[in-house]
Protein backbone atom coordinates (compact mmCIF):
# COMPACT_ATOMS: atom_id res chain seq x y z
CA UNK A 1 0.00 0.00 0.00
CA UNK A 2 1.44 3.43 -0.91
CA UNK A 3 2.46 5.60 2.07
CA UNK A 4 0.11 8.42 3.05
CA UNK A 5 1.98 11.63 2.22
CA UNK A 6 -1.01 13.86 1.85
CA UNK A 7 -0.65 16.05 4.95
CA UNK A 8 3.14 16.06 5.05
CA UNK A 9 5.66 18.49 3.61
CA UNK A 10 7.40 15.86 1.49
CA UNK A 11 11.10 16.61 1.02
CA UNK A 12 11.86 16.11 -2.65
CA UNK A 13 14.71 16.73 -5.02
CA UNK A 14 13.79 18.95 -7.95
CA UNK A 15 13.99 16.21 -10.61
CA UNK A 16 11.63 14.07 -8.49
CA UNK A 17 9.20 16.93 -7.89
CA UNK A 18 9.16 17.94 -11.55
CA UNK A 19 8.25 14.39 -12.57
CA UNK A 20 5.19 14.06 -10.32
CA UNK A 21 2.15 12.53 -11.96
CA UNK A 22 -0.60 15.08 -12.57
CA UNK A 23 -4.22 14.00 -12.62
CA UNK A 24 -7.16 16.29 -13.46
CA UNK A 25 -9.47 16.58 -10.47
CA UNK A 26 -12.80 17.93 -11.83
CA UNK A 27 -14.74 17.62 -8.56
CA UNK A 28 -12.50 19.81 -6.40
CA UNK A 29 -12.34 23.57 -5.84
CA UNK A 30 -10.87 25.83 -8.53
CA UNK A 31 -7.49 26.10 -6.79
CA UNK A 32 -7.01 22.33 -6.78
CA UNK A 33 -8.08 21.26 -10.22
CA UNK A 34 -5.03 19.01 -10.52
CA UNK A 35 -3.93 16.40 -8.01
CA UNK A 36 -0.35 15.20 -7.78
CA UNK A 37 1.13 11.85 -6.91
CA UNK A 38 4.53 10.23 -6.64
CA UNK A 39 4.73 6.52 -7.44
CA UNK A 40 1.04 6.17 -6.65
CA UNK A 41 1.13 8.17 -3.40
CA UNK A 42 -0.93 11.36 -3.49
CA UNK A 43 0.82 14.41 -2.09
CA UNK A 44 -0.04 18.08 -1.85
CA UNK A 45 2.76 19.81 0.07
CA UNK A 46 6.51 19.72 -0.44
CA UNK A 47 9.74 21.08 0.94
CA UNK A 48 12.66 21.85 -1.35
CA UNK A 49 16.03 23.49 -0.82
CA UNK A 50 18.40 25.07 -3.28
CA UNK A 51 19.92 28.18 -4.78
CA UNK A 52 17.76 31.03 -6.03
CA UNK A 53 18.69 31.45 -9.69
CA UNK A 54 15.84 33.63 -10.97
CA UNK A 55 13.43 36.19 -9.57
CA UNK A 56 10.73 38.26 -11.19
CA UNK A 57 8.79 40.56 -8.91
CA UNK A 58 5.42 42.20 -9.55
CA UNK A 59 5.00 44.27 -6.38
CA UNK A 60 1.58 43.88 -4.80
CA UNK A 61 0.85 40.90 -7.04
CA UNK A 62 3.40 38.11 -6.89
CA UNK A 63 7.05 37.10 -6.85
CA UNK A 64 8.09 34.34 -9.22
CA UNK A 65 11.43 32.70 -8.57
CA UNK A 66 13.24 29.46 -9.24
CA UNK A 67 15.18 27.15 -6.96
CA UNK A 68 18.05 25.09 -8.41
CA UNK A 69 19.11 22.16 -6.23
CA UNK A 70 21.51 20.65 -8.77
CA UNK A 71 18.96 18.13 -10.06
CA UNK A 72 16.51 20.61 -11.59
CA UNK A 73 15.00 24.08 -11.40
CA UNK A 74 11.70 24.38 -9.53
CA UNK A 75 9.42 27.31 -10.40
CA UNK A 76 7.90 28.93 -7.32
CA UNK A 77 5.26 31.60 -6.87
CA UNK A 78 4.81 33.69 -3.76
CA UNK A 79 1.53 35.59 -3.81
CA UNK A 80 1.69 39.21 -2.64
CA UNK A 81 -1.88 40.24 -3.50
CA UNK A 82 -3.52 39.54 -0.15
CA UNK A 83 -4.72 43.10 0.38
CA UNK A 84 -6.50 43.30 -2.98
CA UNK A 85 -7.57 39.73 -3.75
CA UNK A 86 -11.22 38.78 -3.21
CA UNK A 87 -9.94 35.36 -2.14
CA UNK A 88 -9.19 36.85 1.30
CA UNK A 89 -12.25 39.10 1.56
CA UNK A 90 -13.97 36.85 4.12
CA UNK A 91 -10.94 36.70 6.41
CA UNK A 92 -10.47 39.15 9.30
CA UNK A 93 -8.67 42.27 7.98
CA UNK A 94 -6.01 42.14 10.72
CA UNK A 95 -5.24 38.51 9.78
CA UNK A 96 -4.99 39.41 6.11
CA UNK A 97 -2.64 42.31 6.89
CA UNK A 98 -0.46 39.95 8.92
CA UNK A 99 -0.37 37.36 6.13
CA UNK A 100 0.49 40.10 3.62
CA UNK A 101 3.26 41.39 5.87
CA UNK A 102 4.80 37.91 6.25
CA UNK A 103 4.63 37.30 2.51
CA UNK A 104 6.33 40.64 1.86
CA UNK A 105 9.09 39.73 4.32
CA UNK A 106 9.58 36.38 2.55
CA UNK A 107 9.83 38.16 -0.80
CA UNK A 108 12.60 40.41 0.51
CA UNK A 109 14.64 37.32 1.47
CA UNK A 110 14.59 35.84 -2.02
CA UNK A 111 17.76 37.10 -3.70
CA UNK A 112 19.79 35.59 -6.55
CA UNK A 113 22.47 33.34 -5.07
CA UNK A 114 20.74 32.83 -1.71
CA UNK A 115 20.12 29.27 -0.57
CA UNK A 116 16.50 28.92 0.47
CA UNK A 117 14.39 26.22 2.06
CA UNK A 118 10.92 26.50 0.55
CA UNK A 119 7.70 24.93 1.73
CA UNK A 120 4.42 25.13 -0.07
CA UNK A 121 1.63 23.53 -2.04
CA UNK A 122 2.27 21.71 -5.27
CA UNK A 123 0.28 23.40 -8.00
CA UNK A 124 0.17 23.26 -11.77
CA UNK A 125 0.77 26.10 -14.16
CA UNK A 126 0.51 25.65 -17.91
CA UNK A 127 1.06 21.93 -17.58
CA UNK A 128 4.14 22.20 -15.36
CA UNK A 129 4.62 21.66 -11.67
CA UNK A 130 5.27 24.68 -9.48
CA UNK A 131 5.22 25.47 -5.78
CA UNK A 132 2.82 27.99 -4.31
CA UNK A 133 5.01 29.17 -1.47
CA UNK A 134 3.87 29.27 2.16
CA UNK A 135 7.22 29.42 3.97
CA UNK A 136 10.74 30.67 3.18
CA UNK A 137 13.86 30.11 5.24
CA UNK A 138 17.28 31.36 4.13
CA UNK A 139 20.08 28.93 4.96
CA UNK A 140 23.63 30.08 5.79
CA UNK A 141 25.37 26.74 6.36
CA UNK A 142 27.51 25.94 3.28
CA UNK A 143 26.83 22.21 3.77
CA UNK A 144 23.05 22.49 3.87
CA UNK A 145 22.49 21.63 0.21
CA UNK A 146 24.60 18.49 0.54
CA UNK A 147 22.67 17.49 3.66
CA UNK A 148 19.39 18.12 1.83
CA UNK A 149 20.46 15.75 -0.97
CA UNK A 150 21.25 13.06 1.60
CA UNK A 151 18.01 13.71 3.49
CA UNK A 152 15.89 13.43 0.34
CA UNK A 153 17.61 10.20 -0.75
CA UNK A 154 17.22 8.66 2.72
CA UNK A 155 13.54 9.64 2.97
CA UNK A 156 12.81 8.36 -0.52
CA UNK A 157 14.36 5.01 0.30
CA UNK A 158 12.95 4.56 3.80
CA UNK A 159 9.64 6.46 3.83
CA UNK A 160 8.29 7.61 0.50
CA UNK A 161 8.83 4.68 -1.82
CA UNK A 162 6.25 1.94 -1.35
CA UNK A 163 8.73 -0.59 -2.70
CA UNK A 164 12.52 -0.53 -2.52
CA UNK A 165 14.47 0.31 -5.64
CA UNK A 166 15.36 -2.78 -7.60
CA UNK A 167 18.81 -2.77 -9.12
Amino acid sequence: MPPNLHNTHVKLLAFDLLSLTQTPNPHSSSSDTISFSRRGSPLSRVEILGTVTFRDSKPGKFLKFSIDDGTGCVPCILWLNHLTSTYFSRRRPQDVRLIAHVASDFASLIKIGAVARIRGRVTGYRGSVQITVSDVLIERDPNVETLHWLDCMRLAGKCYDPLPHRK
Partner: protein, 120 residues
Protein backbone atom coordinates in the same frame (compact mmCIF):
# COMPACT_ATOMS: atom_id res chain seq x y z
CA UNK B 1 11.20 31.07 -16.04
CA UNK B 2 11.00 27.97 -18.25
CA UNK B 3 14.29 28.96 -19.90
CA UNK B 4 16.34 28.77 -16.70
CA UNK B 5 18.48 25.65 -16.83
CA UNK B 6 19.61 23.80 -13.75
CA UNK B 7 23.36 23.84 -13.21
CA UNK B 8 24.51 20.23 -13.14
CA UNK B 9 27.02 19.82 -10.30
CA UNK B 10 30.44 18.73 -11.55
CA UNK B 11 33.88 18.53 -10.05
CA UNK B 12 36.64 20.50 -11.73
CA UNK B 13 38.48 17.23 -12.39
CA UNK B 14 35.54 16.07 -14.52
CA UNK B 15 35.78 19.05 -16.87
CA UNK B 16 38.19 17.50 -19.35
CA UNK B 17 37.71 17.87 -23.13
CA UNK B 18 36.82 14.16 -23.45
CA UNK B 19 34.07 14.42 -20.81
CA UNK B 20 30.40 14.53 -21.97
CA UNK B 21 29.95 17.46 -19.57
CA UNK B 22 32.57 19.48 -21.46
CA UNK B 23 30.39 21.09 -24.10
CA UNK B 24 29.60 24.58 -25.23
CA UNK B 25 26.67 26.12 -23.36
CA UNK B 26 26.40 23.37 -20.75
CA UNK B 27 24.77 24.65 -17.54
CA UNK B 28 27.02 23.63 -14.68
CA UNK B 29 27.57 24.14 -10.97
CA UNK B 30 31.24 24.15 -9.96
CA UNK B 31 32.96 24.51 -6.62
CA UNK B 32 36.56 25.52 -6.00
CA UNK B 33 39.01 27.69 -4.16
CA UNK B 34 39.77 31.14 -5.57
CA UNK B 35 43.38 31.07 -6.73
CA UNK B 36 43.41 34.46 -8.39
CA UNK B 37 41.01 37.19 -9.39
CA UNK B 38 41.44 40.09 -11.78
CA UNK B 39 39.39 43.20 -11.09
CA UNK B 40 40.09 44.45 -14.64
CA UNK B 41 38.75 41.38 -16.44
CA UNK B 42 36.43 40.05 -13.67
CA UNK B 43 37.95 36.62 -14.34
CA UNK B 44 38.50 34.39 -11.33
CA UNK B 45 40.48 31.17 -11.39
CA UNK B 46 39.20 28.43 -9.09
CA UNK B 47 41.11 25.28 -8.21
CA UNK B 48 40.23 21.92 -6.69
CA UNK B 49 43.24 19.69 -6.23
CA UNK B 50 45.17 19.72 -9.51
CA UNK B 51 42.24 20.96 -11.58
CA UNK B 52 41.40 24.56 -12.32
CA UNK B 53 38.79 26.55 -14.21
CA UNK B 54 38.35 30.18 -15.19
CA UNK B 55 35.13 31.89 -14.12
CA UNK B 56 33.80 35.00 -15.81
CA UNK B 57 32.16 36.91 -12.95
CA UNK B 58 31.17 40.06 -14.85
CA UNK B 59 27.44 39.43 -14.27
CA UNK B 60 27.78 38.90 -10.52
CA UNK B 61 27.21 41.66 -7.98
CA UNK B 62 27.99 42.19 -4.30
CA UNK B 63 30.61 39.44 -4.07
CA UNK B 64 34.15 39.81 -2.82
CA UNK B 65 36.51 37.25 -4.37
CA UNK B 66 39.16 36.80 -1.73
CA UNK B 67 42.03 34.50 -2.66
CA UNK B 68 41.77 31.26 -0.70
CA UNK B 69 38.00 31.42 -0.24
CA UNK B 70 35.84 28.62 -1.61
CA UNK B 71 33.11 29.64 -4.03
CA UNK B 72 30.34 27.87 -5.84
CA UNK B 73 29.22 29.14 -9.25
CA UNK B 74 26.32 28.30 -11.53
CA UNK B 75 26.57 29.26 -15.16
CA UNK B 76 27.18 28.24 -18.73
CA UNK B 77 30.40 26.80 -20.12
CA UNK B 78 32.08 28.66 -22.97
CA UNK B 79 34.78 26.74 -24.83
CA UNK B 80 37.42 28.65 -26.75
CA UNK B 81 38.95 27.27 -29.96
CA UNK B 82 42.05 26.20 -28.03
CA UNK B 83 39.78 24.06 -25.76
CA UNK B 84 40.18 26.42 -22.85
CA UNK B 85 36.89 26.55 -20.93
CA UNK B 86 35.43 29.53 -19.07
CA UNK B 87 32.30 29.36 -16.98
CA UNK B 88 30.08 32.39 -17.60
CA UNK B 89 28.69 32.65 -14.09
CA UNK B 90 25.16 33.89 -13.44
CA UNK B 91 25.10 32.91 -9.76
CA UNK B 92 27.92 32.77 -7.23
CA UNK B 93 28.27 32.42 -3.50
CA UNK B 94 30.93 32.02 -0.88
CA UNK B 95 30.87 28.51 0.62
CA UNK B 96 33.79 28.78 3.04
CA UNK B 97 33.35 25.94 5.52
CA UNK B 98 31.93 23.47 3.01
CA UNK B 99 33.02 19.87 3.55
CA UNK B 100 34.30 19.10 0.04
CA UNK B 101 34.86 15.40 0.78
CA UNK B 102 31.22 15.06 1.88
CA UNK B 103 30.14 17.10 -1.13
CA UNK B 104 32.00 14.92 -3.63
CA UNK B 105 30.83 11.65 -2.03
CA UNK B 106 27.23 12.90 -1.84
CA UNK B 107 27.39 13.95 -5.48
CA UNK B 108 28.24 10.37 -6.48
CA UNK B 109 25.29 9.09 -4.41
CA UNK B 110 23.02 11.70 -5.95
CA UNK B 111 23.93 10.65 -9.48
CA UNK B 112 23.31 7.00 -8.64
CA UNK B 113 19.97 7.89 -7.03
CA UNK B 114 18.89 9.84 -10.11
CA UNK B 115 19.93 7.03 -12.43
CA UNK B 116 18.04 4.45 -10.31
CA UNK B 117 14.98 6.70 -10.15
CA UNK B 118 14.88 7.15 -13.91
CA UNK B 119 15.25 3.38 -14.46
CA UNK B 120 12.56 2.46 -11.88
Amino acid sequence: MAGIQSGTPVTLAELRPESPLFKEGASLRVTGKIQEYSVETAIATVVDGDSKLKIDTQHLRDLSFRTGSIFQFIGELLIHPDNEAVLQARVGRNVDGIDLNLYHQSLQLLRQFQADHIRA
